[in-house]
Amino acid sequence: MSKKALKTITIMASPFLIGWVALFIGAYNVSPLMVLKVIGSGIWPFLKSPDIEETAIILDIRLPRIILAGLVGIALSGSGVTLQGIFRNPLVDPFILGISAGAALGCALSVGFFPHLPIQMMAFLFAITAVILAYSIAKTQGEVSRLPLVLSGVIISAFFTAMVSIVKFLVDPHKLQNIVYWLMGSFSLSDWRLVKIAGIGIITGLLPVFLMRWRLNVLSMGEDEASALGVNTKRDRIIFIAGSSLAVSIAVSVSGIIGWVGLMVPHLVRMITGPDHKSLIPLSMAGGAAFMIFADTVARNLTDLDIPVGIITAITGAPFFIYLMKKGGKESWGR
């Protein structure tokens, strides 16, 4: 087996391995044998799972949490690598287009003023609104090229963040606490309902990206080169941005704002396997899932408390960002 194939297999298998280990670790002590028994009964229904606390902990608490963390990792990292490819900018991450600020506003409005509307729905609606606005502003300059889009994303982010601040100011301190919790990003309330929402949304968003991943190689060569090769750059770019935005906004809506994963993981994977998007896209998705599950397992087991996972990713992400800046992005970009 070649070295590259070994690396590919290892990365693709990593979320399953880490997820498997994470199933055995938690605040409630469940014996490994019981974990296997419960998982076995989940896979083969004729083994009928025992109706005890351990079953609820494994099947209703740990398993959905691990799967949700994995799905969110796929969304953040998959979108990160896609946007970095489109913008040919290694320092772009999924939140640059205003997605997080939009989702945060949706959440804040839901908690503060419209408690009868689900947070997920509001976060998603506002995240998508932010992306559409960012794209429309960039379009007023005619051709949507990468710099105006990034700039309008920054502008929209700033505007939506200000709106969040207004909502935070207006709601009473009791509701403010909920908004602050949500903005820190956490999987503490994961359940199967959220897994379903995340699963459908993220697959819908990232499937076209996955199927068209080879075109990213062409797009990342630059506008003129891609056009010369007969690629409809505008259409492709819209598909990539819309798909990855949908995936990220769904991820944000179920888990809050978890930063750095979309920036960090694609770089790590690119360093290991090279810049070819055909393999980089699926490997980044797998790497993102593995990293997210790992970070969440740390978050829920490091202390007696359930630390918001956004804090863990930021602690690891910030030094990584500094490392990237020092390195100038050259090696990590593969050029």
Partner: protein, 350 residues
């Protein structure tokens, strides 16, 4: 020099004489009267200043009685002490408070606001020209900022029942309403006494594990705070008390391991008791299995209202010991005697 010598001579000549009883009396009075005046003035000036040391280590001296006060916190003590005439400003959150609305209809029109303890509009506050601003210790920089403008600021943060009483007594002294403060405490104590009498009958091994959930279902009240003190009072065991904090986010697995018998949800939380009861992740918790999950009213726990809330919690935890108690009647009597309003004028406990 001559003058001095002649004076000394005069003194010497007086010393030689035996003083009469009359002149002795007069001399005694001459000494006593200034002493009495000094003592009177000193005692008057001591009584006119209150010294308060708060939890962030500040010592504040406030001249009393206070005539103009701004309440960013503890405003539920205003109707309890009957000091509306001393209130020149109030936190903006007071306008949404059911008790405040009932005690002072049209409060948003009659009492101005200068923001809250978190966001102070300093110009609006200075315009109110208060003798004292009462706020909390949670944002020390706001306290410092207000002090820099020359305002007298008292920051409170009661973390158990005794501290709450201390804060109530402080208000009594600030406004010269010591009797009313003691009256409130006595009314609270009578409810607590009722609870304690019933609870002492419960054997140690029959004590229930109780949990207080906060802004989200996995956020629990821990070993520091008024809530934990109420748990002790009602004979409940708080499994989260081992965590030396006010609140903490814990994994739901830990809550399952604690297996509380009764769960209370903070009144301002964005979810209902039914959300917990319907969630399969919670189904093996004793409180959920037995349907003993209750959402508390949106009442402050830094208020005399803590007493009826504690009674309600005790009754939900140990209903068998409180069967003969009519919560509505007790609470109504409490409201009338403490706040001067009927219980049905505020949002009732569900």
């Amino acid at each position: 020099m001559i003058g001095v010598r002649s004076q000394n001579t005069a003194v010497r000549s007086q010393k030689g004489k035996k003083p009469s009883a009359f002149s002795l009396k007069r001399r005694l009075w001459r000494i006593l009267i200034p002493c009495l005046i000094v003592l009177f003035l000193a005692s008057a000036s001591w009584a006119a200043v209150i010294t308060y040391k708060d939890k962030i280590g500040r010592t504040v001296k406030i001249p009393v009685p206070v005539k103009r006060a701004v309440f960013f916190q503890t405003y539920e003590l205003i109707p309890a002490l009957g000091i509306w005439d001393r209130v020149v400003g109030i936190a903006r959150w007071a306008y949404d408070n059911d008790l405040m609305k009932a005690a002072k209809p049209g409060i948003e029109k009659s009492v101005p606001s200068a923001g809250s303890g978190m966001d102070v509009n300093i110009e609006a506050l200075l315009k109110l020209n208060p003798d004292v601003v009462i706020t909390w210790t949670s944002k020390p920089e706001t306290v410092r900022f207000m002090e820099e403008t020359g305002l007298k600021v008292i920051a409170v943060y009661p973390e158990d029942l005794e501290e709450l009483y201390g804060v109530m007594r402080l208000h009594g002294r600030l406004f010269g309403k010591e009797k009313q403060a003691e009256h409130c405490i006595a009314r609270m104590e009578s409810i607590f006494k009722l609870i304690k009498e019933r609870v002492t009958r419960i054997p140690e091994d029959k004590r229930k594990r109780v949990l207080w959930l906060g802004g989200k279902p996995t956020s629990v009240a821990c070993g520091i705070g008024v809530t934990d003190d109420v748990f002790k009072l009602i004979g409940g065991v708080n499994p989260a008390a081992q965590i030396p904090r006010r609140n903490a986010d814990v994994p739901i697995e830990r809550i399952i391991a604690w297996n509380p018998d009764v769960i209370f949800i903070w009144g301002n939380a964005g979810y209902k008791a039914q959300d917990i009861l319907d969630n399969p992740q919670w189904k093996f918790i004793s409180a959920v299995r037995e349907g003993r999950v209750y959402k508390a009213p949106e009442w402050s726990t830094w208020s005399p209202r803590l007493a009826p809330v504690a009674l309600w919690m005790a009754m939900k935890t140990y209903p068998e010991y409180f069967r003969d108690i009519n919560l509505d009647r007790v609470t109504d009597e409490f409201y009338r005697k403490v706040f001067g309003i009927a219980y049905n004028q505020v949002k009732k406990i569900e």
